[in-house]
Symmetry: C2
Subunit: 259 residues, 2 copies
DNA sequence: GAGTGGTCTAGACCACGTA
DNA sequence: ACGTGGTCTAGACCACTCG
C-alpha cells in the first residue's frame, strides 16, 4: 500500500486509506461531503499539503470529486448499458440478462447529438484500419451525444472519401436510416465487423469535449466494418467515459471459453 | 485546459502542456528520459512543487512514469489482444482482421498462472449475477496470469458451491479440458453468455496484484455463463490492465449497427 | 465576510540507484 | 559521493460560493 522506499507507509497514504475505507464501506451516503482540508489537517496533525496529497490520490482513483470552493464529495457511478450489437439483437437473449440491464436504463432521458462532417487526413490508427493509400483522404462524421444535456460519448465515423463523396453521409444531418444503409446502397454493404476495445486515461481534448472529472478513464471502442470481399469501408472511433458506460455483448449457441 | 477560476491557465498546467506536446509529437523516442525536476524548475523559474504538479498530471494521464531515483520516463504501450470469443473462433474472420492483430501477439512469451481456490460469500456484483439465495456460498477459482513473469491479468471464476462441490473445479490445479467442460459433465452446459465491460481506476489491491503503474486504468470484464434454461452457473470477473490489453470481438453475417 | 479549495513558494530530510 | 525523486512543513494569496 503505497509504501515508501523505507519500510513505512507515507502519512498521506494512510490518510487516503482511512478515507477510502470510509467511502467504500458505505459509512457515508453517496454524494456526501467529506471533511474539509482544514478539518483533516487538524484531525491528523499534518500540513495541508499532506492532506491534499491524500485527497488528490482519491480524486485520481475516481472515488471523490472536488467541487471548489464547496468541498470534496463522494462520487457516484451511474453507467448506462452500451451495446455494440444493438441493432443486431435489440432484445436480450433472456429475461435473466435483462435484469442486469434494467438497473441502468436511459428511460426518460432526452437524447441529443451534434454532428460535424469534414474531410481529413485521418489519424494513423484509422488510416491503417481503412487501408487507405498514402495521402488518401477520408470523410469523418463527428458526433457528440448528450443525455439530458450532459455529454455522454463521442462517435467519429470515418469513411474513405472516394466511397461517400456526393452521398448523404457528407451532410451534417441525421441519417434516419443509418449511414450503413447509405453505404450499402452505394454498393458497399457491411457484413462483418471487428470491435476493438481498450482503456486509457483521456486526453485534455477528450476531457474538454466530454466534460470528464479527474480520475475518469475512457474506453476506446474502434469498430471496423467490412464488405463481403473484406474491404474495410468504415471505421468508427467511440470514446466512452468509464463513469457512464457498461459495454455489453451477448453470445449464444456455442461453447463458451473461460477467457 | 485546466484554467483556474481566474481567466488564466495555471503555471503547472502550462508546463504539463509543454511536456505533453513534446511527448505526443514524438520529439522524444519512447522510453526516453525527461528533464529532471531540477532542470525544469530552473528552465521555468518556478518552485519545485509546481514542476512536480505538472509531472504528477502527466503520470496520472499515463504518459510518463517515475522510476525513482532515476528520473521520469516516457511510457510505452504494448497491449496484447484479448479475445472473449477465443475458443469459439480461433481464427480471425479474414486476413484483413488478422493484420491488426499481428502487431501485438504473445509469440515467444512464456505464460504462467497461479491458481487459488476458496469458498466465499461472493461480492454483491457476483451474487446478483449468479442469482444466489441469501447466504448461499460460491466457489471461486482465482487466477493471476503472467507473461514472461510479469502479471498480465486476473481471472476470478465464481460457481454456485452446490454445483461444483466434489468436482475437479475445487482443486487448485490446471483443468486441461477447461472448467466449462467439467461443469457440462456435471449437467450444467453453458450455451449463452453475457459479457459486460466497463472501465475504472484500479483499487489499491489490484494495483498490488497486477503491479500497475499510476495512471493505468483497468477494464473489468464480467462474463456470466448460462445454461439452456437460463440459469447462471458461472460468473467470471476479469481485471484487464489498460496498458496491456485490447479486447477484440468479431461479428459477422448480420447488419451492423453504428454504435 | 467567512470559509472553501486552487495555486505557488522556499525550504528540509530521506532512501535509493548509479557512477 | 552525488543526484534523483518521495515526503513533509509552514507559510502566502487568490477566486469563488454561501449564508
Amino acid at each position: 500500500m503505497a509504501a515508501t522506499r523505507q519500510n513505512r507507509v507515507a502519512v498521506w497514504a494512510q490518510i487516503a486509506e482511512d478515507l477510502r475505507a470510509q467511502i467504500t464501506d458505505g459509512t457515508h451516503p453517496a454524494d456526501a461531503q467529506l471533511p474539509t482540508e482544514a478539518d483533516l489537517t487538524a484531525k491528523y496533525g499534518v500540513a495541508r499539503a499532506t492532506v491534499r496529497q491524500a485527497l488528490a490520490a482519491l480524486v485520481n482513483e475516481g472515488l471523490i470529486v472536488s467541487r471548489a470552493p464547496r468541498g470534496y464529495f463522494i462520487r457516484l457511478r451511474k453507467p448506462l448499458y452500451y451495446r455494440p450489437q444493438q441493432e443486431f439483437r435489440p432484445q436480450p437473449l433472456s429475461p435473466e440478462m435483462d435484469r442486469f440491464m434494467m438497473d441502468h436504463s436511459a428511460d426518460g432521458r432526452e437524447p441529443r447529438q451534434t454532428i460535424e462532417v469534414s474531410i481529413v487526413d485521418p489519424p494513423e490508427d484509422v488510416k491503417k484500419r481503412l487501408k487507405l493509400a498514402d495521402g488518401e483522404l477520408a470523410a469523418v462524421r463527428r458526433r457528440i451525444r448528450y443525455l439530458d444535456g450532459e455529454p455522454f460519448n463521442t462517435n467519429d465515423s470515418y469513411f474513405p472519401l472516394r466511397l461517400v463523396q456526393d452521398t448523404e453521409i457528407m451532410r451534417p444531418a441525421d441519417i434516419a436510416r443509418g449511414a450503413n444503409e447509405v453505404l450499402a446502397e452505394a454498393g458497399y454493404p457491411q457484413v462483418r465487423a471487428l470491435d476493438e476495445i481498450y482503456t486509457r486515461m483521456p486526453t485534455p481534448e477528450e476531457i474538454r469535449r466530454l466534460d470528464l472529472a479527474p480520475g475518469t478513464p475512457v474506453a476506446c471502442h474502434i469498430c471496423t466494418g467490412l464488405c463481403p470481399d473484406g474491404t474495410p469501408v468504415r471505421v468508427v472511433m467511440n470514446i466512452l467515459p468509464g463513469d457512464r458506460h457498461v459495454i455489453v455483448y451477448e453470445r449464444g449457441g456455442i461453447d463458451l471459453d473461460e477467457k
